[in-house]
């Protein structure tokens, strides 16, 4: 990966001077002394802040919880922050693009990678277990599928490629933004696309397509442009932990802005979100399966911002090995609590018992049960195959606790397109 693109933009932590009362709590609690003050403002030094979030909950005012996407080289200095009466306006996508931050739009959620092993022939392949629906919710938008196949792929231009995990981690994850120019490529949240890596396999045949879930909402990562984003985790070992260098993921992670990519798709006609007012969405994913959840969440967030859509409840169960391996962690925590109910489960936090998404679901069984009772609730599961059984069992337990018959409910969920499983 070229260093120039690494963290070209940062989410800078800022304190809102209009709300801050200068109580000094944050400064006294910061473990790395990143917070300082003058007679006017309390400010965060972007060079020192390690995003540990220790200062967030102790702040009595909420002024501490502000973030701006800026090019790293243009991060607001401490001296500049001292002069503020109010927070600066957000950089626009255009301003960021002018500074070379192509994957602008500063993901409200940072992406993670869903390296879906490709189905033969590049067809959309949902590994639906018994309870998984094969039909979309009644209010799903109509999807376009298979506009481009292996024989007639279309070319997309890379307009952004940003590494979103810390250097030094075992894996790196990239946020890759593709632009289709004037070629039609309409997509919906939950759909995926296929990437044709250049070159050939050992036997001389061209590489087959690899499928990736789209991580951006229907109107684009950057709204109003013909673009979408993928979250790509560089594959360096297979499911059994044996070293293997993923062909497509390494290809994608190493792309530079301006490179052309051969794309097929879109794929997927049932793992689609409901669009009617007051429809609830329950999302259950593990690290690599969060891309469609980000897309759906972001679409609902944009709708909410218009003030014209009455969304239902969003509930997310998100599992990862550790907090550090969960790229959503910071940004997710910035979403308002009345917008989304977030539950994390970490299975490898040192010194803590292993906790999986199904454990988090059982803890929230009462609230989950209430949602299961609501015919406007739609459930999405995405991640490794091994999570499927535990998750469906936890759902059935929550249903039974809520005095619902799982046999009846499970069949209804499937028939009505309300439970979608996508595991690999």
């Amino acid at each position: 990966m070229n260093a120039a693109l690494e963290a070209i933009a940062i989410r800078q932590h800022l304190i809102d001077p209009e709300i801050c009362i200068r109580c000094n709590t944050c400064e006294s609690i910061c473990p790395v002394k990143a917070i300082t003050h003058d007679s006017r403002n309390y400010v965060v030094d972007a060079a020192k802040c390690n995003l540990c979030m220790d200062c967030i909950s102790p702040c009595p005012t909420g002024s501490i919880d502000n973030w701006r996407t800026v090019p790293r080289v243009k991060a607001y200095s401490v001296g500049e922050q001292f002069t503020w009466d109010a927070l600066p306006v957000e950089w626009t996508a255009e301003q960021l693009a002018a500074e070379g931050v192509a994957a602008a739009e500063a993901p409200a959620l940072e992406p993670v990678a869903p390296p879906l092993p490709a189905a033969a022939g590049g067809e959309a392949a949902f590994n639906a277990a018994a309870y998984g629906a094969t039909v979309p919710p009644w209010s799903a938008a109509h999807p376009y599928t298979n506009l481009y196949g292996a024989k007639n792929p279309t070319a997309a231009t890379v307009v952004g490629n940003v590494r979103v995990t810390a250097v030094g981690r075992e894996y790196d994850t990239h946020h890759v933004m593709l632009d289709f120019g004037s070629m039609p490529f309409p997509v919906l949240e939950g759909q995926s696309i296929g990437i044709l890596p250049p070159g050939t396999e050992a036997g001389g045949r061209p590489h087959h397509a690899r499928q990736y879930s789209i991580a951006s909402p229907r109107n684009g990562e950057r709204p109003g442009y013909n673009n979408l984003s993928l979250a790509v985790k560089r594959v360096l070992q297979d499911h059994q932990g044996r070293p293997v260098r993923g062909v497509a993921s390494n290809y994608l992670c190493d792309l530079k802005v301006g490179d052309k990519v051969q794309v097929i798709g879109p794929f997927g006609a049932s793992f689609l979100m409901p669009n009617h007012p007051r429809s609830n969405i329950v999302m259950i994913c593990t690290g690599t399966g969060s891309a469609p959840m980000r897309a759906m969440t972001e679409w609902r967030r944009r709708l909410r911002a218009t003030g014209k859509f009455e969304g239902g409840k969003l509930m997310l169960f998100f599992g990862a090995r550790t907090k550090e391996e969960l790229p959503y962690f910071g940004p997710l925590q910035n979403l308002p609590k009345d917008f989304i109910d977030i539950n994390f489960a970490f299975s490898r936090t040192p010194g803590q018992p292993r906790r999986y998404v199904q454990d988090a679901m059982r803890e929230r069984a009462a609230d989950l049960g209430a949602l299961l009772k609501d015919p406007d609730t739609f459930i999405y599961v995405c991640g490794l195959r091994s999570m499927e059984e535990g998750v469906v069992l936890a759902l059935s337990d929550a249903a039974e606790q809520a005095a619902l018959s799982w046999d009846v409910l499970g069949a209804a969920l499937k028939a009505q397109g309300r439970l979608h499983l996508e595991t690999y």
Binding site: T25, S28, D54, P58, P60, T61, G62, D338
Partner: protein, 475 residues
């Protein structure tokens, strides 16, 4: 013998489970505390479930746990900030020696007095505010009031812990006495005068939390420097909670001003009568409330020349605000400080020994800090395009303690005659009519998301909850 597991019921990091003496003392005291809370705590609130912050430990994750709690079941905890290994005394005659982990005999009386005086203010403010819930302008504000109340309660626990743990029978008696005195009671008043004043309405409450709780902050900051390590560690943790109280005050006043400015712009007037009939609090009245609370609060710092203050400092009991950040010799012997007084109708500045003037030093630091928030209130006015500025009154205005006590000085710092004072006092301090008007606005608003007409909603909710969140569940 009680079977209550106090170490569970009382979140703590002072090893309560192992300390039998302390446990016994608390077993005696806790039922009396709860009785006091029942009698003198927030009026009619015992059944409410309130979305409160509870501290369960002192680390960043542990001390801001949010959830619904019935206030009498609030888990009042005892917390000391983590100790600093080999902490040294850093001011006064003992500078450089190891900090005290126990009370030195020669300082016992003074330390007890300091702790009791601080502790007495905590239940006092709960008593002063106990009827405010009946006239809250919103659920959000009601919740903030209750949060302030339970945390004042926890501060009382913090001080009583020190009394029980380090002062033996004297300490236990003082702990009881803290529950006996009553704010405003003729026979058993609270120790400090400002804590015997009423908090009759919400504007007064916001002013009180802004100005008077800020006095609390400065006193706690000074005690956080103390050579008596348990006191320093307790008060450091209390400061994190005190911050919320000042937030309630600063944002509360700011929201009142915001609403008034809105009405001024809608009605295109600054006429007091018109604004009052529109049901908002005119800016001159807000200024008069400010004058009152500021002047009453700066009295709390004590006499401007005080040999007690010198003793407390030199013996290492109480430091200055941000003592650790100051670059002088931390002994202050032979140094002087300018103190304002009135001689023959003229202000004169006298140089007095710095050590004797430490109350004045703390008062001046406080004044500097207070002005900052007032300037932020002015930004709200400015933003609304209105030509009006709030100002803190002159230090000598309406004083009752120290060399300036009883002086007739206008808010802008002119020495005035008795006649001029009497002719203008209603322009400078809230009159009976002002208070009656503000009181007339106080009606109870408790539907989630609704706010009384005289106050703007806050910009953001508590703990990132929405503003219309159900902060209080009435049962």
């Amino acid at each position: 013998m009680s079977t209550i597991d106090y170490s569970d019921k009382i979140p703590n990091n002072v090893n309560l489970a192992e300390d039998r003496t302390l446990k016994r003392a608390l077993e005696q005291w806790q039922p009396n505390y709860l009785k006091w809370w029942g009698d003198m705590g927030p009026d009619g609130s015992q059944d409410f479930e309130v979305y409160l912050r509870t501290a369960v430990s002192v680390d960043p994750q542990g001390w801001a746990q949010f959830g619904y709690v019935k206030m009498p079941e609030y888990r009042w905890g005892i917390f000391l900030n983590p100790g600093e290994k080999d902490r040294k005394i850093h001011f006064g005659d003992h500078k450089g020696e190891a900090a005290w982990q126990d009370v030195p005999g020669e300082h016992r009386a003074n330390l007890r007095r300091i702790i009791v005086t601080q502790g007495d203010t905590e239940p006092a403010s709960v008593e002063q505010q106990r009827h405010l819930g009946l006239t809250c302008p919103s659920q959000y504000d009601l919740r903030n009031l209750f949060q302030v109340n339970v945390e004042e309660g926890r501060h009382l626990w913090a001080m009583v812990y020190l009394l029980h743990k380090y002062f033996g029978r004297d300490g236990r008696e003082e702990g009881e006495a803290l529950l006996q005195r009553r704010s405003g009671d003729h026979d058993h008043p609270r120790i400090l005068r400002a804590f015997n004043e009423e908090t009759p309405d919400w504007l007064a409450f916001f002013m009180f939390t802004y100005f008077t709780d800020r006095d609390g902050k400065f006193q706690l900051c000074a005690l956080a420097e103390s050579s008596f390590d348990p006191l320093a560690r307790t008060t450091k943790f209390m400061l994190t909670e005190e911050a919320h109280h000042m937030f309630v005050g600063e944002s509360g006043v700011s929201r009142v001003i915001n609403r008034t400015c809105q009405a001024m712009n809608e009605l295109k007037t600054d006429d007091v009568a018109t604004l009052r009939s529109a049901g908002v609090i005119d800016l001159p009245t807000i200024q008069r409330y400010l004058n009152f609370h500021f002047s009453v609060t700066i009295d709390l710092f004590g006499a401007d020349e005080s040999s007690n203050a010198a003793t407390f400092y030199s013996s290492g009991l109480k430091g200055r605000f941000e003592e650790g950040k100051r670059a002088d010799d931390h002994l202050l012997k032979g140094q002087t400080y300018k103190v304002l007084s009135l001689q023959g109708g003229q202000f004169v500045e006298r140089e007095v020994p710095m050590l004797n003037a430490l109350n004045e030093v703390l008062r001046d630091d406080y004044i500097k800090d207070s002005v900052g928030g007032v300037e932020r209130w002015n930004k709200v006015v400015e933003k609304a395009g209105i030509a009006f500025r709030l100002k803190v009154p002159h230090k000598a205005f309406h004083r009752n303690i120290g060399a300036l006590a009883g002086a007739k000085v206008s808010p802008d710092g002119r020495v005035v005659s008795d006649a001029e004072w009497n002719a203008n006092v209603e322009m400078w301090l809230p009159s009976g009519a002002d208070r009656a008007f503000v009181a007339s606005l106080m009606g109870r608003v408790v539907e989630p998301g609704r706010f009384a007409n005289w106050i703007a909603p806050p910009t953001i909710g508590i703990n990132r909850q929405p503003v219309d969140f159900e902060y209080v569940r009435f049962n």
